[in-house]
């Protein structure tokens, strides 16, 4: 569905084995097209975070290759929401969100409107001077989200960004994110544990299985954007969710089996 169909990058039989011998990923093939909203769903420990790090270039695969679209150029800006908030503990909320812009040479004053707008969006207005340890877990995660968005990156990699948020804030942020995405046509790879969230947001859901981490199945969510509250109550939505849940269930079982193989 949706936007452009150019493949932005492709994982070609990518495998990752850590130095302690744990194989986090084996033989993963995945294509991400420009403008995709791709969700990664899978059991805990199946290698979702690892896949995201590989895509971001923070790790190199042990086998296989990650093939970026040459034409996309070298300077694709990537926004990354880590699974943990990963904030600078000594810097205020404002400074943490400002950071990516600051590294691009944007002054505090110039950055202010963008930063404040994002803080407003993640409901953190009034906390710009707090340091991370004075925030609750969910608030920290929201700072991290704001930071990833502040540069309007062309690729957004998000590792369970909303897991620590209450459902209502989560819904709001889901909507916000979708809106932004439709506006700015960036590419999103989104790790989540919520079937509902993945179906609501994404154009494609990739379900992974564990031990070793691999792509188990892919589900295209062929529902039109924009999606809104109505979509959440639609028959389609329920059906997609059901299907995704089922696939996830089988993936878990596959995991179970392969564990018995002694892998």
């Amino acid at each position: 569905m949706g936007k452009g169909e150019k493949p932005l990058l492709a994982l070609r039989s990518v495998g990752k084995t850590f130095s302690n011998g744990v194989t986090a990923l084996a033989d993963v093939d995945m294509t991400i097209r420009e403008g995709d909203f791709l969700s990664l769903l899978g059991p805990s420990g199946c290698g979702k975070s690892t896949a995201l790090r590989l895509i971001a270039g923070l790790m190199t695969p042990t086998t296989g290759l990650i093939d970026w679209d040459r034409k996309a150029g070298d300077d694709i800006s990537v926004g990354f929401v880590f699974q943990e908030p990963t904030l600078l503990p000594w810097a205020s909320v404002f400074d943490n969100v400002w950071l990516p812009l600051r590294l691009k040479g944007v002054s505090r004053g110039e950055a202010r409107p963008a930063v404040m707008e994002l803080l407003e969006r993640v409901h953190l207005s009034g906390f710009e001077n707090a340091v991370p340890r004075e925030l609750s877990g969910g608030m920290r995660m929201r700072v991290s989200i704001a930071r990833a968005l502040v540069t309007r990156p062309r690729v957004l990699l998000m590792d369970e960004p909303f897991a620590a948020l209450d459902e209502i804030t989560r819904f709001r942020l889901n909507n916000d994110l979708l809106e932004l995405w439709q506006d700015q046509r960036f590419t999103v790879v989104f790790v989540t544990h919520s079937v509902f969230e993945s179906v609501f947001l994404s154009s494609r859901v990739v379900v992974m299985a564990a031990r070793p981490g691999r792509v188990f199945d892919e589900i295209a969510i062929d529902a039109a954007y924009p999606r809104d509250a109505a979509f959440r109550t639609s028959q389609d939505y329920a059906a997609f969710c059901q299907r995704t849940s089922d696939v996830l269930g089988s993936a878990m079982n596959a995991t179970g089996r392969s564990r018995d193989d002694g892998h």
Partner: protein
């Protein structure tokens, strides 16, 4: 398990909680009174030891005598203290610049570190007394000599701790900077240096004392004479003149200076770290 009341400890019944509160109160009073009390006790003990063992004044003078000497020789001693402190501060400053500078250099690459750290160690372990003749031949300025000597003594802890700190940065944060195409210097400035701060400040606390002792030792070795001489000269002179009270007066001043430097550096560390680092945080209760 826990009962706590609105701003009042009187209604507290739970023994554990009561103990905790009592401890806290004690702590609060203790943290001011006790150090002073213990210091006083130590001085009293010194006095008693002198009396009980009938130690003659020319070996170990009683604290009263030393205090009197500090008072009577104040002009001489304090002007010397000032000279020593000047060298101390300059060499601490140089230790910070040199230590951090080298640490930053070493942080650039593992092989820079492995190539140049040995030289830093050589500097650290070379006895000044032994290489002073060389320094003396090639350095003319007296202050420069003193600074060089005390810098050699003081810079290593700053270097070593800062290096450790620069290498202890959270890996995810480093990845974040990498993703944002931060330059080496940006990473250094915005990430590594602030993250190394607690380690650096720890090194600084060690270097504070060392640069003081370095200043004294430098003067011992490099010698200064005339009016403008520091406490080391006073110590040597007093030792030679068998003037034990003055010798101990000078030593006490060195010690006090050391304590004050440490307190000041601790305060600075506290102010810098208090908002975010465990070591300086007030535990929220």
């Amino acid at each position: 398990m826990t009962v706590t009341d609105t701003n009042s400890a009187t209604q507290v019944l739970d023994p554990e909680e009561a103990r905790r509160l009592r401890n806290e109160q004690l702590e609060r009073i203790g943290s001011f009174v006790l150090p002073v009390a213990i210091m006083v006790l130590a001085i009293w003990l010194w006095d008693r030891i002198c009396v009980w063992n009938e130690i003659p004044q020319y070996i170990l003078p009683r604290p009263g005598v030393v205090l009197q000497t500090i008072h009577s020789d104040a002009a001489l001693l304090f002007s010397s203290l000032l000279v020593t402190l000047k060298i101390t501060f300059l060499s601490l400053l140089l230790a910070v610049i040199g230590g951090v500078g080298l640490a930053v250099l070493f942080a650039q690459s593992k092989w820079v570190e492995m190539s140049f750290f040995p030289f830093a160690i050589v500097l650290q372990v070379t006895p000044i007394v032994a290489i002073f003749p060389l320094i003396n031949i090639y350095v003319d300025n007296q202050t420069a000599k003193l600074l060089l000597c005390s810098w050699i003594v003081a810079f290593f802890p700053v270097l070593s701790n800062t290096t450790l700190g620069l290498n202890s940065v959270d890996r995810n944060l480093r990845d974040l900077f990498k993703l944002n195409h931060a330059s080496r210097w940006q990473e250094l400035w915005h990430l590594r240096l602030p993250a190394a701060m607690p380690y650096f400040l720890g090194g600084l606390k060690i270097a504070g004392g060392l640069s003081l002792i370095g200043a004294v030792v430098a003067e011992f070795v490099a010698g200064a004479s005339g009016q403008s001489s520091g406490l080391a000269s006073r110590i040597i002179e007093a030792g030679y003149r068998l003037n034990a009270p003055r010798l101990f007066a000078a030593l006490i001043l060195v010690s006090l200076a050391g304590i004050v430097i440490f307190l000041v550096l601790s305060l600075i560390a506290h102010l810098i770290l208090r908002r975010w680092h465990e070591s300086a945080l007030k535990q929220e209760r």
